[in-house]
């Protein structure tokens, strides 16, 4: 691997490592776990360098970091997912305090129950804290399309007692 790596690991880490670690720290809230997750992110990139085809590696790295951390959170079920609730942005998604309590299990819901396309948008909105406009730009969707999807998700959660 060392002989065939296309990336200068050192300079790649200097440029993107801090961003990845901050992301992992924010999501995992444990320095050891965040450090391990950061390594995992870079290992994924180094093992699949053909993924670096886009103009902006930061977008890919940020997304991989988010997914790595979510997987770790999911796999560490010995800890309550409640511990990780503050990684959820946009809790105003629910309109009042009672509804906000529903956020208690939102993370579980996102991770386990939604189909991939919905999950990606939910993660961008709830976990990455991206605005609807940013999500629309990132996913090449209309703003109203993102609105509709999130509204549908909200109603699903509240009305059907999915969580």
């Amino acid at each position: 691997m060392r002989g065939e790596t296309l990336i200068d690991i050192e300079s790649f880490y200097v440029r993107y490592g801090p961003m990845v670690l901050r992301r992992c720290r924010r999501m995992l809230k444990n320095e050891q776990s965040a450090h391990d997750a950061m390594h995992e992110v870079f290992l994924k990139i180094l093992s699949n360098q053909n993924r670096l085809t886009g103009e902006y590696p930061s977008a890919l790295l940020y997304r991989i970091a988010t997914n790595v951390c979510l997987n770790r959170i999911r796999n560490e079920r010995k800890h309550s997912l409640n511990e990780y609730l503050d990684i959820l942005y946009n809790t105003s998604f629910f309109e009042n305090q009672e509804e906000n309590n529903s956020a208690r299990n939102l993370l579980t819901y996102i991770l386990e129950k939604e189909k991939k396309s919905t999950r990606q948008i939910a993660v961008l909105y709830f976990v990455n804290g991206m605005t609807i406009k940013e999500i629309a730009e990132t996913k090449n969707l209309s703003i109203s399309g993102v609105h509709k999807l999130l509204d549908k998700l909200r109603r699903k959660i509240l009305d059907k007692g999915e969580i």
Binding site: M1, R2, G3, E4, I9, E10, S11, Y13, V14, R15, Y16, G17, P18, M19, L21, R22, R23, R26, E31, Q32, H35, H39, F42, L43, L46, S47, E55, Y56, P57, S58, A59, Y62, Y89, N128, G129, M130, T131, K133, E134
Partner: protein, 269 residues
């Protein structure tokens, strides 16, 4: 876009210069008039530096390569040979170059697994002032050692510099045994060109050895390339008198500016 609608994701990518032009210009305009936004961007910059001190690039690289090696090998035999050649070459470079600098000290590559700590203190650095910075990592803190501070053998130090005007420079240290160590450039034959307008961390952390009394770090800057050999000769001359090392600057041309940080060896050194 307004301040409230800029996500952390966009801020990070803006700081890296990896947003499309339109968003870059928009955030740039807002940062000029919005102190909070500018502060958030400054925090990213400060955090970048701090993380790179806490987890030095070479340490992380070594950890990644080790973990890559631990993975099942899917390489073809020829690629495997290339990999081994590369590793051997890297090793040879390290053992061949390092004795040029200092026999008594060593560059350490701390085990990344043991090196994981929470950062409680984030030193702030004035990027408008040319200076030499000596960071020390103790437990979960990174601190900047001021001139005259005490330290012990075994302390993990990271050198960094900030330069605002001068384009060339070098960093060396002299210890209580009279040993002169070149820290920047890494090799005598390398360029002395400096990175300006930001904090530049040297690639390797260093561990203070057991040399007695002190270690004084010198940073020299100049508007033209520095003659490393002649500066080293002056340093070796000064090193003959340990008392002078703590007080005197090197006898260098006036066009050279000198900065230094004296670290006194405390108990246990």
């Amino acid at each position: 876009m307004n301040k409230e609608t800029i996500s952390e994701y966009y801020l990070e990518r803006y700081a890296l210069g990896e947003l499309p032009d339109e968003e870059t210009e928009e955030i740039g305009r807002m940062a000029v008039t919005d102190p909070e936004l500018q502060e958030a961007l400054d925090e990213i910059e400060s955090s970048n530096q701090n993380i790179l001190v806490l987890y030095p690039p070479l340490t992380v690289k070594a950890g990644l390569l080790t973990r890559l090696d631990d993975r099942p090998n899917k390489l073809f035999p020829l690629k495997r040979v290339l990999f081994i050649s590369s590793a051997v070459a890297t090793f040879l470079i390290l053992i061949l170059l390092f004795p040029l600098f200092k026999q008594e000290s060593r560059i350490i590559y701390p085990n990344a697994e043991q090196d994981v700590t929470l950062v409680k203190g984030i030193p702030t650095v004035d990027l408008t002032k040319t200076q030499l910075l000596v960071y020390r990592k103790i437990l979960d803190q990174v601190e900047i050692l001021p001139d005259g501070e005490q330290a012990r053998a075994g302390d993990l130090l990271q050198l960094a510099y900030v330069t605002t005007e001068e384009s060339y420079g070098m960093i060396l240290s002299i210890d209580g045994r009279g040993t002169v160590t070149l820290h920047l450039p890494e090799n005598k034959g390398e360029s002395t060109k400096l990175e300006s307008s930001k904090q530049f961390l040297l690639p390797n952390a260093i561990e203070l050895d057991d040399a007695p009394k002190f270690e004084r770090f010198f940073f020299f800057t100049s508007g033209s390339p520095i003659d490393v050999d002649s500066v080293l000769r002056e340093a070796q001359d000064l090193a003959k008198n340990p008392e002078k090392v703590q007080q005197k600057n090197l006898n260098l041309p006036e066009s050279y500016k000198q900065y230094s940080v004296l670290i006194l060896k405390g108990e246990g050194s």
